[in-house]
Amino acid sequence: MDYPVPLARLIDELSKMPTVGPKTAQRMAFYVMRLTTEEAQSLADAILGVKAGMRYCSVCFGITDTDPCAICSNPARSGAVLCVVEDPRDVIALERTREFRGRYHVLGGAISPLDGVGPDDLKIAELLSRVREGGVTEVIVATNPRVEGEATAFYLARLLKPLGVRVTRIAHGLPVGGDLEYADEVTLARALEGRRDL
């Protein structure tokens, strides 16, 4: 027997979500069905609230509920250093370090011809105009260390250097707190490659 239409519709919607397969979607739908009306309302409100309340910052293209975002409008953050990342989630990760006092620029991905993503599909022109406006002395390229992130970093460096800013790339290597013995071979090999003089 097929599920009754309202339940089938919910399963259908839920299974469109990333990492959610049909079985998980069924389990979630049954969970929702058993919620009280108030709880279901609260879930629905949260979903609609994200749509209504979240947007992309018009300066850095990170996710925000105010425009410009809290980081871009914070006078205590230095506009002299820009950290370029692929994804809004990378901003959250870097913010958790509480080390970085500059501002961000979110590209919205990395160059990947196999996926049909070229420089024009990313917020690169916007980055260049931010730098051209002046006040930026360093751009830290924190794209992912995959080949696509490296190619994007190379591409950005070529465009940014003529503008007279310092362009740096984040280092990659061993996770801190990990013993050498337990690092996987690839990470160790990369760390060896990125060794520096003492």
Binding site: I111, S112, P113, L114, G116, G118, P119, D120, V147, E148, E150, A151, T152, F154, Y155, R158, D184, E185, V186, L188, A189, R190, L192, E193
Partner: protein
Amino acid sequence: MPRLRRLWIRAFRNYSRADIALDDGITALVGRNGAGKSNLLEAVYLVATGRSYRTAREEEAILRGETAARVRAQISRRGREEEIEITLAVEDGRLTSQMRVNGAPTPRGSVLGRLTVVLAAPWDLEMVRGSAAGRRRLLDAALAQLSPSYFFALHRYHRVVAQRNAHMRRGAPGGTEAWDAQMVALGVRIAAHRTEYMRRVAPEAEAWFSRLGGEGTLAVAYRPSWPGETDESREEEARAQLARLRADEIKRGTTLSGPHRDDVDLSLEGAALRANGSQGQWRTAMLAVRLAERGVMASETGESPVLLLDDAIAELDGDRQKRVLGLADEAQVLLTSTGLPQVAGPVRVLAVEAGAVAEAIWSSRLERF
């Protein structure tokens, strides 16, 4: 010395289940053609390297009527027991694999090298008569087991070439410079590894060829697309070729130089082995190359890899069989044969019978010779 202690097989090729305890030294799998002897060696190779050496009809790796095949190997290495496992399954019409070490999902790059293996099989003749791709596998199969950083570089290199090709085919604006830098850096490293490896394999293979009674002089040589004595000269060569081939590459939408175009020359008395040798000489040459591979891997890691000989010594006379199997450093050897091999020392013989049921296959365990 890595040792294969036990092999479990479920729904792989013609085996529904098998559970085989293995000893040190030489084990001969004896049975009629089609009994499934080669499938056992393939299972060992698969769990050790994450890849089958049979590329055609991959989906047949899973026993008909089953959804997944599994091979698990209990190995001991440097005094430690470990269990490595591979599961093959078909998802969306494609064969996928998942590897585990001691039960924990593990990427292929971290499984390679735990159970080092060298395999000589009838398919090796493809290296003589087939395309350069087969001969590059000769380099990659050994180097990926020897060096995680080689595996890593090769993996990334292929991705960069695929992206670079896509860039050209899509007529994306701007040049390929963003990809070229990575391609050259990774490619130079790959070529350096391959050069060093072949510098050691070539003389050993040439010596094995005459030791196995091969007529004439075999020569084995690496033919890199970006030749050079040093990384600097390779890089210079790479840059020069990229510049020279640019127009052609854009027209054809594909990358025309680099390690993915490397080759290995096999020649007999100065002429291409493919054109010059008999089938018998081809077989001897390929076995010589595999034995050289084993020797280099053994000296590189300080421990002999497990040697898998799939129907590789049947045509050799008794003396030469002894030469192959009398390897000095106590390698574990698994070989298939339709008859009993000629060896001086003890050999454990397992009879393989047609069919998929383990009990039937392992019903007769002959005495030690």
